[in-house]
Subunit: 234 residues, 2 copies
Amino acid sequence: MDQTMLVRETIVDQLTQMIGQDILTGKYPSGSNLPPERILASSYGVTRTSLKHSLVRLEEAGLIETKHGVGSTVTDFLATGGASLLPLLMRFGGFELIDSVLEARALLGSVIVERAATLATEAEKSELRTLLARLGEAKSSKEAQLIEAECHKVIARASKNAVFILLVNTLLNAYLPIGDLLLGPFKDPKSLAGDLRGMIEAICGNNAELSKLMALKYFETTGKFMKGDKKWEE
Amino acid sequence: MDQTMLVRETIVDQLTQMIGQDILTGKYPSGSNLPPERILASSYGVTRTSLKHSLVRLEEAGLIETKHGVGSTVTDFLATGGASLLPLLMRFGGFELIDSVLEARALLGSVIVERAATLATEAEKSELRTLLARLGEAKSSKEAQLIEAECHKVIARASKNAVFILLVNTLLNAYLPIGDLLLGPFKDPKSLAGDLRGMIEAICGNNAELSKLMALKYFETTGKFMKGDKKWEE
DNA sequence: TTGGAGTAGTGGATCAGCCACTCAACCAGA
DNA sequence: TCTGGTTGAGTGGCTGATCCACTACTCCAA
């Protein structure tokens, strides 16, 4: 169960990462055009078809806008991009984003927790308690991290709001690929489970007000560890 | 200025919409495989290359997962999808989503407004006041709607949180393509500007608490109109 | 000065082909 | 009977070449 599934990486995966990274690190500034497809493809040693696949991905992510006859223009993606940009930004954008992510995590997360506390079903509450128990017995930081992520998914589901579910998925998708760098809160799963318990019990007790307070507290605590706050190691 | 820019639609655009719609309307249920690429391409009368471009889009949107040698499997996208799914869901998913969208709009929007009230610069405040004035003088519902959307962008920017900016962009991208069906609040731009004024003045006055209350009120009022509440027409 | 024509450069799409992966079925050996 | 290996069918990944459609710019004529 500790086995990590081998991920098959295609040429287009690699290419998308490389071009995406070049864009995010400023090689192609916002407003500028990428080189023409034929040139770009040969510079990376791939066919134009594969390159185009990569460009479709980057366009979907909001990094570029491709126009027939004109070329692919790098967007002002920090201003105009959508949530789908988050995973890429977090991977290559450096940690300048982390403050925003943690703030959004706390403010949005606590709103979702409050809704969940009002609307959770018995099945969802039972699911949360099970996950909490599993968290306390996690054998590694990584395992703890994945269980905690699962908690957030259940809470989002319990909010009965489809948009919140999708947003939480997006935030988790942004966070988990670089989760290895943010394992601070998960080094002591038992202690973390204790921290999370208050929030989950408030949800299960249908106490919306308390759940929000406990959520804000939980997100603040774990957020500090994720930012590499040194208190944990003292 | 009332001219609508002609949008050039490519084969792949159309194809993506058609397949996307077929998925969202249940022709290909979650967990099932789309037909093989060669067959699917010929059934739509396009080449496999064009079809693959479309599939890349759908995969990025989170509707399918494509595996080498296996095929393209429709995901349980309502549970596992991300925010990028929102535009598609709103276009083809019927209005079952509207409750979630309006709720998220209000709860997330008021959080962002509260942050903006704390952090807005003088330039941003001035921008908001200008937009408010333009809103009061808008000559059509559509124009009013677009100006109001611009207000939300500025407020998101004023929150100084990159994640909120991206989330607001995503929500607006989901909403504006079907904005014509949600023009209720914008039929009287002058009245709407009046409704919005309280919120914007609270932001400009750096009154976080009041701004949040005004925001919740504003989102509730406009949300009712968007849901086709009949009060407006009485 | 303005409008139209022509051209270079760029992306969109088609077509054909070959390689790599997955999965299921079958067979042989323990 | 069970397990492991091989094979083959079906599927996606990628290459390479070609032609068409669009954009932007330049030049020339009215």
